[in-house]
Amino acid sequence: MTAVTSARRGPTGLPRLLAGLGAAGTTMTLAEHETIHGPLPTISGPELIGMIGHSGLRGRGGADFPTATKLQSVATRRGGATLVVNGSETEPASTKDQLLLGRLPHLVLDGAVLAAQAIGAREAIVKIGDGSPPVMRALEDAGAARPDDGVSFEIVAGPAGYVTGEETAVLNYLARGIPKPTFVPPRPYERGLRGRPTLVQNPETLCQLALIARFGSDWFRELGSDADPGSALVTISGAVTTPGVYEVAFGTPMNDLLAAAAGPSEPLQALLVGGYFGTWVKSSRALGLRLSREDLRSVGCALGSGVLIVLGESSCGLHESARVIDYLANQSAGQCGPCVHGLAAIADSVCALADGVAHPRELDRLLRWTTEIRGRGACHHPNGAARFVESAMWVFADEVELHRRERCTARPAGLPLADLSVGTQETRR
């Protein structure tokens, strides 16, 4: 590997990204940031892309795509590339990007400057979600405090809505004010904003990149495994004692992950891995897993944007799933027939099962619909929703049967998914 541009040694163990994180409501200053991580390194584009490739870093926005490949494909295209930092974070159960943008903005902006330089972009647009004035302020202050890096920043707040954070929806909003996905190809890296090749990256990915540029890819690989190197931010919510954002190494056993959130707050029933596009797994299976792509794939899961929702025994998984699919159906951008009509029908069907008023053959029809709508939207919204519902039907099959007989295992108490969109959890390492 090529020489690391900073003589400084990276931190041993954890935390990495969250090193020096202050109390809630505080934003790390540039001076504090440089004391902890050292100054922004000077590094050539090809050298950075080589380091990122060797590090094995993958995108942390949910698509899990190799970051170096994306950087390379934009860098090799001619014609004034653009960088968009996609901080929309429209997944209700995720708060890690808001944490990074609002409290560690210089780490995100470091990554943005390095990525922009590597692809030859002179401007970077940071797109954030609606209703986060503190994040906007933190980013504006951070941008103003930084020396001229040859990259200008524009910070844009977009509207709320699950699908508005999808990358083509972000670009469509920035170009035309329409926060809805577009038909691909062309993909953003081919033809994005103003017809230029556009690199769209998640804030956490850029933070990881900023540290790799400083401390090297071997350092990055000190944590995790060969297949899943490094650390990741995970937002844990639901039936745990202290919900929040935690930085953990890949390969961490699920039990240790829950222990980081001070453990379950009641006996466990199931885990939703990967957020609302994710997959339910029975806790008896989930607790034997490690946080690795291989382990998660063995139970049909992906980490997505690093969301873990813990369902306790006092809640009804079927009712919770009905509420989530109802939400997802309402969040369709309304452009594609299979999504508009399919998700509405699927949501009605799951609600009927939850209410115990479904036709005896309802499940067959529901699973035909979830199969049929896959791959038939412009974006992945129908696919994610279908995957979620299929896993719910599988994991809560007993509950479906009970509800058919007008029974339910849960006390009518907790609705853990309800408060997820509030995002008021205290965040700790």
């Binding site: 452009q335 594609c336 027939g337 299979p338 009509h341 399919g342 049929e372 412009a378």
Partner: protein, 69 residues
């Protein structure tokens, strides 16, 4: 030469002509939107596939024809 059939789901308005003209490759879902189970178009259906793509009122049915190398 290989040809693949796909649908732009944003412009598709469920007119259903594709399933009328090319039932070998296109069926409709419960709401009248096309489902293409196998996007590869066999040579004997190429003419019909071209006709179906041309006939789509919103030009949502797309036939990607790749020239042989």
């Amino acid at each position: 030469m290989s040809a693949r059939l796909r649908v732009n789901p944003i412009t598709c308005e469920a007119h259903g002509l594709c399933a009328e003209l090319l039932p070998e490759l296109v069926r409709l879902d419960d709401w009248g939107y096309p489902i293409i189970d196998e996007s590869e178009v066999p040579p004997e259906l190429l003419t019909l596939a071209r006709r179906a793509a041309d006939a789509c009122p919103t030009l949502a049915l797309i036939l990607d024809e790749e020239r042989g190398r």
